[in-house]
Amino acid sequence: MQRKIAIPRELLVDEELMLPGMTSCQGCAAPISMKIALKALGNRTVIVFPACCFCVFQGGYPYSNLKVPVIHCPFETSAVVASGAAAALDVRGEKDTTVMVWAGDGGTFDIGIQALSGAAERNDNILFVCYDNEAYMNTGIQRSSATPMGAWTTTTPAGSLKSEPKKDIEQIMLAHHIAYMATASPAYPDDLYRKFQKARQITGMKFIHLLSACPPGWRIDPADSVRTMRLATQSRVFPIYEVTKQTGAAPGEDTWEYDITVIPEKEVPVSDYLKSQGRFRLMTDDMVMKIQKQADRKWRDLVEKRDATRLSGV
């Protein structure tokens, strides 16, 4: 028997809010995520795009391939533009419209972080989605602070591979006490669908960290894009979990509930994930070991936090 991907069939088959004809590379995972996210959010959605692959390939002026309103904005302003849009909708009394930022890892981890931090601290009612392909792919594969240790990029070429670990954006966002933080991967579309649906119903700052395979940048075959992302989760390099704020009785008594939403049946060593990609081809065994340890530690922490949540009876 097959693990059915549980997304309502009428949504899959009927109204499509994303059209074909985009100039995304073969095997790009971002349109898969967008397609499913829009199925969960519906047509009452406003999307804010900073500079990123998606803002380019979904149609340059005067074209747009998404059947929802889209605002293009400068690189570092996405979160604040979204805050403005959310405030405007609030003034007009439109409570059922979601404002979503769809930013790459550059627009989130590096260039977009100050506006993002501001919006998160103010708890503005926006959904910030980072589709993380782990480098500046749009401009030709330059390293970002989301690039993992040991990866090849044009600015960390052979001989000087990136030696710093990836920035832990999830912890940074959690440190802002936001309403909802989740990771998701298009390799698990039903989980992704459910998280966007949940985020739509939460008021306040929501952050979703999406893993997004980039066949040219990751040096993989386009057909392997989903498989590679699945390996990322199976190897626990990219665990899929969510953290939901439970508002306390009095100010300062809020708690955060952890849940690991995809527990892969099959466990694989991180080397399986790394070896399947050309960008990690030059990695030393030492680095692989380091990444394995990091992944193990992260998973242990998550399990601990989830168990603590369960024990506290939240």
Partner: protein
Amino acid sequence: MSVKKRSEMAVRYEFKSYRDITPMHVSTGNMLYNKTGSWRFIKPVYEDKTPACQNACPAGNDIEGWLKLLGKREFEKAYWHLKREEPFPAILGRVCFRFCETACNRAGLDSSIGIRELERFIGDQAISGASYPDVLPDNGKRLAVIGSGPAGMSAAYFARYLGFAVTIFDKEDLPGGILRLGIPAYRLPREVVAAEFDGLVRMGVEMKLHTEIGRDISMEDIVSTFDYVFLATGAHQSLSLDMAESSGCGRIMSGLSLLQRVARGESPELGQRVVVIGGGNTAVDAARTAIRLGSQVTVLYRRSESEMPAHPEDVREACEEGVVFRFLAAPEHICLLPDATIEKLVCCEMTPGPLDATGRCTPVRKEGMTFDVPADTLVTAIGEAPALDYLQSFMLNTASSFIETQADLSVACRLPGKAKVFAGGDAGQTPRTVVHAVASGKRAAIAMDCDRKGLDAANVFQQIQVGDGSAISFSRYMSWLPVNPVPRNDQCVVDRRKIVYDYFIKAPGLRKVIQPGELRKTAFTPYQPSLTPDEALTEAARCMHCGRCTECDNCLIFCPDVSILDQTRDSFGYAIDYDYCKGCGICFAECPRNAISMIEE
């Protein structure tokens, strides 16, 4: 969304002058004008392939097809679908050696599907009702089938279906050949065989029992009255052990004759201790029969357990019933008592020697390592050969111990009449299992039909080949539609490397509780209970449908270019919008069961 509707939606905006540019940049069109299909150099196509189970089945049984129908609770449809390739599910559902289950891709996840049990379930569902199809109109040709074992039955079934007037000749009083006289009743109840023959007779097959070629009717008579002859006389002549023959003792018999005598209702006197020599299915069946007659049984085999030709499951069940196996042991000579009864067997330990032509070790004696095995009866089951005396004067190659056949199973012989002669089953060159015999009957029937129509059989066989194996498909010969109305690529086999196991949930396989050995060794009644409908449905639901689309929506969900179009509501499956498909191959890679192929443009 249809392809047409989509292209109507395309809006391409062109600025004629600077006045057209809006003061605030607002999109006025979409990218549908950008036909990204031009990027593609390989394209996905939906194409059903041959699952590993069907490829492994000598009869080319479309297992996935009838499991799909069974899963939908369409028992009758499943039965008829099964019979397209393999006409006797109640029989093979009991005695088949399950080549399919060994190949089953599900074993790469948890355990194989219990295909044989399911086949038996379907066969038993239909055995009481009208279980035979309407046949094609008479084609004016007459076929004589010599021998009513599985090969003869199968040839008769398929040839009768194709419109031949079929007569089966058998020297015994009851039809069935090895099914009745070789396979013990605890594995295959006689009613099941009788029911299948009832059906054959209802289809219009004429039975001439108690008619032996050469005794009651001459081969010349047959070849002058019939257009085609199918020789399926089996292998009933036991090979003899020189030592046993020369001893002159009465308490020595062949395994096959023991099985035949018991099958005819006798209960031969075997004494307390029985020694069976041999490691094939006849040896194991004879041992299990002797234990049911109340003796203690030891089986001596000169090679190791893993080299036994007998089916491992039968060996295990024999052990449970109390049969003792001694491997790497061969008899040296028989010690007789003064009254010419057996006292004991002097045996010698063996050691694996050099490999022979079949890839097995030739056992070598360990000098001086002899031991005694006390015995009252000695049963030799070291192999069987076809009895071909009735063909002696016609065969071109009389030196051969079997009937030599061409690829279409025709036999070169010097016969006076007009008839063309074919041969199959154990008498021919096929491996000696029931399913191989059934497959040879099907092959011969199709070859005869080709001959009648003046077609080149070799060419036709190539067109209807199943997978990369030797099986051929009757339904493709008849151009019957498969269960899924999609294009087929039957030569392509889906093996474990092509399955995406991540999409399948582990589910334990069927574990049928059978009677304990102590209990079942007391009687010849069948001991394996049939599946209940619920068990059958649960087991059928485990099928992964390798290579066959199940409309699971994976391709639809994962396509990054929104180029998979659903058509499950109107017809079946999905269509691909080649205007926009970039050929990334994600649908192909994420199809759990390899029902999509990538082909070069």
